[in-house]
């Protein structure tokens, strides 16, 4: 063989090894150093910090909720792409294609179930994740902006879920979207009352923007489809990237000042803590904030993200998948009759996480669908900029008042919500008492605004009582959580045809 030939054969033999070598720069991740290179040399992994504080890995710190949300998103992404192979976004045909996915497509039913359950798991996890971040006061400096990004992610998550609701084109979907469209149109409640709709009609514009037509039809379907499979997922990935990146840039997860003291020495199973002594001081490398590493423990009590954080992340991911798959085997995703504009669903219910709002919408579409949510979002967004304190960061229910305050706030929150709902269910509301009252009055004074006022007043009182914005925030957030729960549960389980209260669906009037 000629030398060139020999070389060719050698190169051919070496090709697999070299492909691996070139794919993962810096060699096999076997030492702390190469693991670090592995992480920051990888476009995906470098969103992680190279080392992670041991506080972060405690289950009680995050309960894995953020990762679970991400995992649920990845699951919906994969199953969603698979569903797209068969789904046809056109009225009636869409319904038929879902039937085909359900009955004929190999594993189609399973994939659709997983998609549906993962979407619900995602909504739950995102909400709980937000609650976790709030109760551990993790939104504080320097993480304020990440809290805002998180709120964006929450909105997009709900948007994704809601746009997915229309796609099967069944009765459930059709009438839920009709409600959604009416909520979008609800500013007309105000403009009609002021008699300016003719000149200024944001409600009509919003509705037209949402539906692309006067009715819920093919335009609305293709719009929701595009939002669901492209616009919103891209926006979500975009914000997620920032969200993760900011965790690293903001110095990892929030932890209490005395986290190092609270943590015992790493157990024997923590390996590797460090497999080699630092070659240079981190003061110079400045990979993370902080000072020179202490002798006898890892830099700032950290362990390498690889493998410790990866085990945790993959563990949560697989656990989330396990939950989704288990639920999918037990319960099929719903599919009602083909959408029929002439047979209204009664009651037509939005997805469960919007039923709390729908409960308020029953009194005023504007207040319930736009007013109260806007106030809540605004309030949530302002939290990190109003609470500039530092006590209790990184600790559950940290801050003045602490758990006892939250406990009392739970009482107030549940109490107020239940009391108002009981009043409304037993005695009706302004419309029933004074049928001739103007729309503006009902928009301004209804259970939604009343509840918001009570919660707001309570939290202002807390601010004064504890002389702390954090105390007020703890009270307000807890109250809103209670309100959300009460309204959602009533909307889900106790509302029947014409949104009348019933103790159980068995009492619903027959047609």
């Amino acid at each position: 063989m000629t030398p060139a030939m020999t070389e060719f054969v050698d190169n051919l033999r070496a090709a697999p090894r070299r492909i691996l070598e070139t794919a993962f720069r810096g060699g096999a991740p076997k030492t702390d150093r190469t693991r670090s290179t592995f992480i920051f040399g990888n476009v995906f992994l470098h969103l992680h910090s190279v080392r992670v504080h041991r506080w972060t890995l405690r289950w009680s710190t995050t309960m894995g909720l953020g990762i679970a949300s991400t995992a649920a998103f990845l699951i919906t992404l994969v199953t969603g792409v698979l569903l797209m192979f068969y789904y046809k976004p056109y009225p009636d045909v869409a319904y038929q294609s879902i039937k085909d996915i359900h009955f004929v497509v190999p594993t189609g039913r399973f994939m659709r179930n997983i998609h549906r359950w993962a979407a619900n798991v995602m909504v739950v996890c995102v909400l709980l994740h937000m609650a976790r971040a709030f109760y551990t006061a993790s939104y504080r400096k320097p993480r304020e902006f990440n809290w805002l990004v998180g709120m964006g992610l929450l909105s997009i998550t709900l948007g994704l879920s809601f746009t997915g609701y229309l796609l099967p084109w069944d009765q459930l979907a059709y009438w839920a979207i009709t409600i959604g469209a009416n909520i979008a149109q609800s500013p007309r409640e105000i403009t009609d009352a002021l008699e300016i709709t003719e000149w200024f009609d944001p409600g009509g514009f919003q509705r037209a923007l949402l539906l692309g037509s006067e009715i819920v039809g093919e335009e609305a379907l293709i719009r929701f489809y595009l939002l669901h499979v492209m616009v919103l997922p891209l926006a979500l990935v975009f914000l997620m990237t920032i969200h993760f990146w900011r965790i690293r840039k903001d110095g990892g997860l929030a932890r209490p000042d005395d986290a190092d003291q609270q943590l015992q020495a790493p157990g024997g199973d923590v390996y590797p803590v460090f497999t080699q002594a630092p070659e240079k001081t981190y003061q110079l490398a400045a990979i993370v904030r902080g000072r020179t590493p202490a002798v006898g423990r890892g830099p700032e009590n950290t362990v390498p993200a690889m493998p410790h954080l990866f085990y945790a992340e993959l563990g949560v991911l697989m656990f989330t998948l396990l939950i989704c798959v288990a639920l999918s085997l037990v319960s099929d995703a719903p599919l009602k009759e083909l959408a029929n504009p002439s047979v209204p669903e009664n009651p037509a219910k939005a997805p469960w996480y919007f039923l709390g709002l729908q409960e308020l919408v029953a009194f005023s579409a504007f207040t319930g669908g736009i007013g109260v949510p806007s106030i809540v979002l605004l309030g949530l967004g302002l939290i990190p900029y109003l609470d500039r304190e530092s006590t209790g960061t990184g600790r559950w229910f940290g801050g003045p008042g602490g758990w006892p305050l939250v406990r009392r706030a739970l009482l107030v929150g549940f109490g107020a919500a239940l009391a108002i709902e009981a009043l409304v269910i037993r005695f009706g509301w302004i419309r029933e008492w004074f049928p001739s009252v103007g729309q503006l009055v009902v928009t301004a004074i209804n259970p939604g605004t009343l509840l918001t006022l009570i919660y707001g007043a309570y939290s202002v009182w807390l601010v004064k009582r504890y002389n702390s914005a954090r105390a007020g925030a703890l009270g307000l957030f807890t109250c809103f959580l209670c309100g959300f729960l009460v309204l959602t549960i009533i909307g889900t389980y106790f509302r029947g045809p014409n949104w009348v209260f019933y103790w159980s669906p068995g009492q619903w009037p027959k047609h």
């Binding site: 697989m318 798959v325 047609h511």
Partner: protein
């Protein structure tokens, strides 16, 4: 930190187990796979795979043949399970038309409950097998069906002439005889669709004359012109769905069209029934249906006790034997529709929908049965339901009084203020149909039509009738003729239709079959009116006409 590793390990194993479970479920445990696994042909086991009948034009993709394999194209020979039965011979090959077009159900489904459609959220479950012919109504209109008595009469003639000796109709007759022969004549099933030779009788006669022996010689003799016409009428009802035809004739004997519209024809008192067989069981209240769910039970029970099943229903309970209720149910189930491409639109449906052909036969008895008998009774002697009294219109006394003009106008314009609607309306009766009903009323009463127009005029001074009216009539008909227990007399439609002679005779002779007494006859409970009294009252009644 091992916690995280254990979480990863445990979850991963769990997911693996669940995936395996799902895979087993999907690939081995599905019902249809087990059904097909037992399938055999001469060549061995059949491939286990999804099977479907697709008809692009009808927009069906029916996967019923995934379990009912033998009903799919080219798979008649498969054996090995109770489901592998051949489809009974039908005009529409299931391997072409699919299944759901006729039977309903969910064609896309591959699980039994879902496919048969007895599940939540499927609006069109399968039609029960004993009601299968209801499926024909999806596309076919089957026009020209007579009321049941007429159908039975025609059938009796057909049997009497023993046409079934040689001809097979609806699966009966024309059997092979022990000595050879039989099945000499063509099968007449569905002959109303296929059409027949109008000169059949002459040809039969000629054929019989030529034959020296055999069934032609022994079995055929010329039949009378009347019988020929009756046989022809019978053949016109042979659409190949004899049970549905029978059910339809029953429907046309209970006067349902008097209150309900079907395909645009009928009354407006009750709901339109055009799609009543397609009611979504999910939208139906089964609380008062004892025999459980299913639209069939609901419809049947609703005939027995309309008010209980549908709150507020004013429909009178059908005093009908169970067999009739079953037939009425079958017919109601057949009231269904489907979007059909032009090529699939059957001729009979086009005739009914576009060319104004009637689904009921044109004879007066059938029209009376279909439209009038619900209130006036099949015998025409009226009906009392609850506190409502429907007049006896076939009573000879009444028929003797009423002129054709009076009857025709009453039917055409109705009686405003009473339940009797005017039938001269969109979706009502045509003039010739009203004339047929009038003629039928005459037949029922056995009274010939009044040929002589009534020219008698009440010449009395109207006001002399006032006190007489107040004393004898106002108790039932109201002081101002506004009606009460008896019909309103200050009623322009009535006064225009009724001649003076009719009014006079009605007062004098009464209305047998109703509470209206004969005032011309001596009685212990009312005063007797002399002819001049009656004349005064008629004149008084006339005075209301001007208003």
């Amino acid at each position: 930190m091992n916690k995280n590793k254990l979480l990863l390990l445990g979850s991963s194993l769990g997911v693996l187990v669940l995936f395996a479970t799902a895979a087993v479920q999907e690939n081995f445990l599905r019902g249809w796979r087990r059904v097909q696994a037992a399938g055999r042909t001469d060549a061995g086991a059949i491939p286990v795979q999804l099977r479907q009948v697709v008809n692009q034009s009808l927009r069906t993709a029916d996967r019923c043949t995934t379990c009912h394999v033998t009903m799919g194209p080219g798979e008649e020979a498969v054996t090995g399970g109770p489901l592998f039965k051949k489809h009974p011979p039908v005009t529409h090959d299931p391997a072409v038309y699919g299944c759901t077009v006729c039977h309903g159900g969910q064609g896309a489904a591959t699980d039994k409950e879902d496919a048969h459609g007895d599940v939540h959220f499927w609006p069109e479950p399968m039609i029960p097998v004993k009601m299968s012919e209801a499926g024909c109504g999806t596309c076919h209109a089957a026009p020209g069906i007579p009321a049941r008595a007429e159908l039975r009469a025609a059938q009796a003639v057909f049997e009497r002439l023993d046409c079934r000796a040689c001809h097979r109709v609806d699966g009966r007759g024309g059997t092979i005889r022990p000595d050879g022969g039989g099945m000499e004549g063509p099968d007449l099933t569905g002959i109303a669709v296929k059409g027949w030779d109008a000169a059949w009788h002459d040809k039969h006669v000629a054929k019989a004359a030529q034959s020296a022996s055999g069934p032609w010689k022994t079995s055929f003799a010329p039949v009378s012109a009347d019988d020929q016409a009756t046989v022809t009428r019978f053949l016109q009802t042979r659409y190949g769905a004899s049970r549905l035809t029978e059910a339809k004739s029953t429907f046309f004997s209970y006067g349902c069209l008097g209150c309900h519209r079907v395909s645009g024809v009928g009354g407006d008192e009750g709901p339109d029934l055009t799609r009543a067989g397609q009611k979504d069981p999910g939208q139906v209240d089964f609380t008062h249906v004892p025999e459980g769910h299913g639209l069939t039970n609901w419809v049947a029970e609703h005939f027995r006790a309309p008010g209980a099943v549908v709150a507020g229903s004013k429909m009178p309970p059908a005093s009908a034997p169970e067999a009739d209720i079953e037939q009425l149910t079958l017919f109601v189930l057949s009231l269904r529709r489907r979007e059909l491409p032009g090529a699939y639109m059957p001729k009979d449906r086009i005739e009914v929908a576009r060319m104004g052909r009637r689904e009921f036969a044109a004879d007066g008895a059938t029209i009376y049965g279909a439209f009038c008998s619900g209130c006036h009774g099949l015998d025409g002697l009226g009906r009392v339901t609850g506190d409502e009294v429907f007049p006896s219109i076939a009573h000879p006394e009444f028929q003797k009084l009423a002129t054709d003009k009076f009857l025709t106008e009453t039917i055409a314009k109705g009686r405003p203020g009473r339940r009797m609607p005017g039938w001269n309306k969109e979706g009502g009766l045509r003039p010739e149909e009203i004339a047929a009903v009038v003629a039928h009323l005459r037949t029922m009463a056995g009274v010939p039509a009044r040929t002589q127009e009534d020219t008698w005029m009440a010449a009395a001074e109207p006001m002399t009738g006032d006190p007489l009216y107040a004393a004898s009539c106002a108790g039932c008909h109201g002081h101002k003729g506004q009606g009460g227990k008896g019909p309103a007399l200050a009623n322009r439609a009535l006064l225009e239709a009724a001649s003076d002679g009719f009014l006079r005779d009605t007062i004098t002779k009464g209305r047998p079959g109703s509470v209206m007494p004969a005032f011309g006859e001596p009685s212990t409970i009312h005063r007797t009116l002399t002819p001049s009294d009656v004349e005064s009252i008629v004149a008084y009644l006339r005075s209301w006409q001007g208003r």
